[in-house]
Symmetry: C2
Amino acid sequence: MDSAVIDRSKVTQVLANFVVASKADDIPEHVYTEAVRSFLNWAGCAVGGSIHPTLDRTLAAIRPFAGQGQATVLGRGDKLDLLHAALLNGISSHVFDFDDTHLKTIIHPAGPIASALLPLAETRLMSGREFLHAFILGVEVECRIGNSVYPEHYDRGWHITGTAGVFGAAAAAGKILGLNAQQMTWALGIAATQSSGLREMFGTMCKPFHPGRAAQNGLLAAHLAAQNFTSSERGIEAPRGFAHVLSTKFDPAEITERLGETWEISLNTYKPFACGIVIHPALDGCIQLRNAHGLTAENIASIELKVHPLVLELTGKTEPRTGLEGKFSVYHSCAAAIVYGRCGEHEYADEVVTDSKIVALRRKVRAEAEKGIHEDQVKVTITTTDGKAHELFVEHAIGSLDRPMSNEELDGKVRDLCEPVLGASGADRFIALCRDVANASSLMPIIEAGIPAR
Amino acid sequence: MDSAVIDRSKVTQVLANFVVASKADDIPEHVYTEAVRSFLNWAGCAVGGSIHPTLDRTLAAIRPFAGQGQATVLGRGDKLDLLHAALLNGISSHVFDFDDTHLKTIIHPAGPIASALLPLAETRLMSGREFLHAFILGVEVECRIGNSVYPEHYDRGWHITGTAGVFGAAAAAGKILGLNAQQMTWALGIAATQSSGLREMFGTMCKPFHPGRAAQNGLLAAHLAAQNFTSSERGIEAPRGFAHVLSTKFDPAEITERLGETWEISLNTYKPFACGIVIHPALDGCIQLRNAHGLTAENIASIELKVHPLVLELTGKTEPRTGLEGKFSVYHSCAAAIVYGRCGEHEYADEVVTDSKIVALRRKVRAEAEKGIHEDQVKVTITTTDGKAHELFVEHAIGSLDRPMSNEELDGKVRDLCEPVLGASGADRFIALCRDVANASSLMPIIEAGIPAR
């Protein structure tokens, strides 16, 4: 009991000591397995998002200031200094809103961490195992800090992927830099005092900017701490520290309890579809029925959905005109899923949303809220033109913790994201290398495979 | 009235429009005069602070990432990219806690803004008048946003110089970059979502880091906005924007009322002494009596002070052992003021604090709280060894708004700060150039004069 009391008054030091003391073999192998999946999902999102205009504008703005080409922007090949490469990777990995989700906090864990670590892997040799070890520790720090202030912190208006992410990036980078416990405590403090990112920015380029800055700022924090740049030693828990200033809730036990025994990365999930999580059950049901019964746009008379009320509230747009609006239309999403058998970023292209075949089909979709339907569930009834009704109840949508994407499904998602950038064989090669990261002696082959051929 | 209602719902746009539309001649000359004083005080602090170890550690950390040498770190001559030069200037200008103070909010206005603008003046030609115009606008934006959320925002634990400073830097840099109103609105939004800096960091290297990062982040915000990087258009006032997320008070009228008619920089003050503002009346009184009566350490029997209670609460350390502790000792401060006739950074050197002559004198200082004594006041009675008692009541301490430092006194402060770095004649030359900034066709001569001869 006494030790718990002491711990709670200095959780920053507890976290720092934990990260510094952790050895790669302390962590169970199944945790590494999930880390590989998180990394692969992140890498796919980063390569896929790298061609988004947000990246072009950021590069145009920062190129005059960037240092010598130390590190590669994944998916593009532009060479920048470490800090700016971290920024760009972080932006691209989040710009499609297709990255991983720690459902307990709505943190997208990988972005801030992997975006900082991959550039670092280009300037100092590290094995895939070292990389994953630091990555796992970063996720642990980030999500535990998130748990300690969630949901009040998020409700207040903070974009938690940015605010908590900076700690994860600092911890992971600090691990690679070999910080001692004092320096790691400072790194977390320097991270705390840069913690930022407002939910008001959702729907603008600043949203993906948040994980980018979290990666960059965390990386800077670790480098400053390595030079004995000082900060408070109680950056998280002090009365004027991160938790009390940025939240009205702080439960330090979320940080200290079973630290080193449970692993937050085990709670990570991956979106199979490039839209809000509320549409996922409906898409899952439509695709299952499509595949089971060979359904096509032509032979469908109607699609009826019984959904959780949030589906209509958030995605009830019946006549979307653009790809972005399509993401807020359960009608378009289901129509595209029937036609293409998937619903990735491609199915939200403007041309797909305005395609007359899709438009005709989406008008056959009816969605109705039903009491007792959980957010993760849906009842789908598809009636074909010959009058047959095909029904399916989805208990847990694909991609949820209860029904995670299989490795093959995840590979498929990443392939869809990477193909437009790397080509088909390039995407396959990139996926194979990411899959094997735990055995890699260096990250360089992955980075090189993530650059499109000229 | 209607327009006021409309304004309040979009104060970010109101501020952006104001900055974009402002012409140099819209601003009264006395405002420029005060801007020159603010700039000179800032420049002195930055040159003086440039030799602090915080700078060495920051430079060691960031040098590997810095871009090509576009801009000079004032007082050092190191050449870095714009963004990192802004960071370093901002740190050095605040590291002695000797910079300017907007007493209404405890913002140190110049740091975030001048630290961003001076590097910019090295890559694009601007006259001193253009520089001062942008500087004044930056102070206006920064302090008005501060006013709108103060004091709850500060009480909550935010270091307002950092959190509000980023807006000032973005506005000033955006003015120089020629942003249009849409882009300026985005720049303020990108600034809002980077707003950060915790009071928990006071007493560590992170404190001066805050204005440094505010300068750097604001400069980045302006450059991103110039490339049409989007943000919310209501970054300040929206329910999940800066004001509501980072404060429990938001008074938009503080931003919109009499905008363009009153000037916050007119409320700026400069510390004559290198310690907390609460000691200032006592030091002022001691130095006045010393000079009037030729007092020396040898001929003083006792120094009695009647002070505001906060003086004892904050600076009641009777036996300080280091320079930093000396700043929290009204006893040391008064003893040093008698011996040296001033109390600048030099008088808080470790050797001065432990000097036996000073130690003996500080033990003759007695301070007592007295009801009715205002924070800005003191009653000093110095009794000499021959039994004579010299009394003085200070109504307003030197450096306050009611009794501002004269230009000569300000020059003297800046000279004290600059001499250890630039030498005596170098300091004089630097001061003369800063004083004449309004007539300069370029800032380059000032920047060059701010570098020590090799």
